[in-house]
């Protein structure tokens, strides 16, 4: 799959990636590498120039109901008169009936919403205006909103960027619990933090390098650990070039070596 925003500068090329059920994938790569773009392609917000994307066997955009999404930028409409809880309740929209009428009743939804906020340690801020929350708190609200959609695949674009270290560990544990029945893709710059949780790593820098679970248990991850995120991709390419460094298990989903 190829993609460019204006038809000239190719942002992503030769991407070939399969997200398996129950996967927990970290997407890493330098700024401007195309991580957010990749996520937006999967969501169907962007259309690929070449190649195709299938989500649960369907064209993206058809099955957005099954996808949960936490955008990278949570500072949209900061002055909007809306409470944290109401933002979370937007996650109830469009799950079933027509024209966004929720199948869940209002009551159920509100209970769910409060419980989700509670799980993210945001219960006491539920009735605050979204603009009165800090960046990290706002991020938690957006995560809660994505969880409310009861997705089968959860796409998180740098969800922990503004969250303190305590909250980050809690949040990753929460993701781990969710991972029992939801596939998760998380864009992150902090591979260290997620290393104990993820099952696979995709490195995006205009091209994509995929490392499955079996692979990262071996040598490659150690090589990656030694470097900053910006260096990871280059190092990985080198690592792949080395004999014996995880070349064997790249069968079903892989970028170009």
């Amino acid at each position: 799959m190829d993609f460019s925003y204006n038809g000239e500068d190719v942002v992503l090329s030769d991407i070939n990636l399969t997200i398996r059920e129950h996967d927990f994938m970290a997407v890493i790569g330098p700024n401007g590498g195309g991580k957010s773009t990749l996520i937006r392609l999967v969501l169907g917000l962007l259309k690929p120039d070449k190649g195709q994307i299938r989500v649960l066997g369907e064209r993206p955009g058809k099955l957005t109901q099954a996808l949960g999404y936490v955008p990278q930028n949570v500072h949209i409409n900061d002055h909007f008169p809306i409470t944290a809880l109401d933002v979370v309740l937007m996650g109830c929209l469009g799950t079933g009936g027509h024209l966004g009428q929720s199948r869940r009743t209002r009551k159920e939804c509100e209970k769910d919403g409060l419980a989700t906020l509670e799980r993210l340690g945001m219960a006491e801020h539920a009735h605050k205006k979204i603009g009165e929350l800090s960046g990290g708190q706002r991020q938690r609200v957006f995560i809660a909103r994505a969880l409310m959609t009861r997705p089968r695949l959860l796409l998180l674009d740098e969800p922990t960027a503004g969250i303190d270290s305590g909250g980050r560990a809690d949040f990753l544990n929460l993701l781990k619990t969710l991972n029992k029945d939801v596939a998760i893709v998380v864009v992150t710059h902090d591979l260290f933090a997620v290393s104990g949780y993820v099952k696979s790593v995709a490195c995006v820098n205009h091209r994509l390098h995929y490392h499955s679970q079996e692979e990262i248990e071996g040598q490659t991850l150690e090589t990656m650990y030694a470097c900053t995120v910006e260096d990871v991709c280059r190092v990985q390419v080198l690592a792949q070039g080395l004999p014996g460094a995880g070349l064997k298990k790249r069968g079903d989903a892989d970028g170009n070596p």
């Binding site: 969501l43 917000l45 957005t64 109901q65 996808l67 999404y69 955008p71 949209i76 409409n77 002055h79 909007f80 008169p81 809306i82 409470t83 109401d86 933002v87 937007m90 996650g91 929209l93 469009g94 799950t95 024209l99 966004g100 009735h127 205006k129 909103r145 959609t149």
Partner: protein, 276 residues
């Protein structure tokens, strides 16, 4: 209240209150969606409809509504994909609609004194029949906004997410702009097309900071708008002023004063008791 002795005054009050409510509701949506300029465009383009009404001798409100609806849908179409960069096209429709109206009025035989009232409002001469039309449209808008409240809130706050949840974002946007077209024609009756934006946006601007939901912002703006309209109406009756201008002056003055007070307040050192 001797002021209520006159039938035209009772009509004016009713028209003012109706518009305040509708302006509070629609103005809130205009402000949170940042489509103030677009509403101005619709208001001015609506003059084309007034021109057509005069030229073809059609009833004014229906033909203005039709024209304004058409103009607003064209604007919705051009702003659909990039709401920020559409101001040039809106500006063009704004001016062309107006020019079209002026030319049609030029071509209409006879001189129409009445025309000024569409530019500056004619709340003191609203006939009962217009009041009924306004009431019906107002009720319809109120009903639709209440019914589609969640959808409107979702696309206003986060269009992308609303789309991902499977809401028909474009449809709802068109629907919003169409309602705006109707609203604008109603408000033209009261303050005239030149001052529509003020009545539509000043109350919601003032409420935005304090409201915690769209609903409270709408209710608060309606109330605020009603106060402005009543006060302006009284002043215009008392001192024989153009009613639309009086209403806008009241709203504008209150707005600027509160803005000033807030500014001074935020500059005041918090630990020191203010002296007075």
């Amino acid at each position: 209240m001797e002021i209520l002795k006159y039938e035209f005054m009772r009509h004016a009050l009713a028209a003012g209150l109706l518009t305040s409510i509708i302006c509070g509701i629609m103005g809130t949506l205009v402000v949170v969606n940042r489509i103030v300029f677009l509403s101005g465009g619709i208001a001015h383009a609506a003059y084309g409809g007034i021109g057509m009404a005069f030229y073809f001798n059609w009833p004014v409100i229906p033909s203005t509504m039709g024209f304004s609806l058409g103009a607003s849908l064209v604007m919705a179409a051009v702003t659909l994909n990039n709401r920020q960069r559409a101001d040039t096209v809106i500006g063009v429709i704004w001016a062309v609609g107006m020019a079209f109206g002026i030319i049609l009025v030029d071509l209409t035989p006879g001189y129409n004194v009445d025309l000024m009232s569409y530019l500056f409002g004619s709340i003191l001469t609203v006939p009962g029949s217009d009041l009924i039309i306004m009431g019906v449209i107002g009720a319809l808008i109120l009903f639709l906004v209440v019914f589609f409240y969640k959808e409107l809130m979702a696309i206003s706050y986060d269009e992308e997410f609303a789309g991902l949840r499977g809401l028909p974002v474009r449809g709802i946007y068109f629907f919003l702009i169409a309602m705006l077209g109707f609203t604008v024609v109603m408000v033209i009756q009261v303050v005239g097309l030149i001052m529509v934006i003020a009545l539509l946006t000043i109350p919601p601007f003032m409420m935005e900071k304090y409201a915690r939901s769209l609903g409270t912002m709408m209710a608060g703006s309606s109330l605020l708008g009603a106060c402005f309209t009543m006060a302006g109406l009284y002043l215009s009756y008392r001192f024989d002023l153009t009613s639309g201008a009086a209403i806008i002056m009241v709203a504008g003055t209150v707005f600027l004063v509160t803005l000033g007070v807030e500014k001074i307040w935020s500059f005041m050192p918090r630990t020191v008791q203010p002296e007075n």
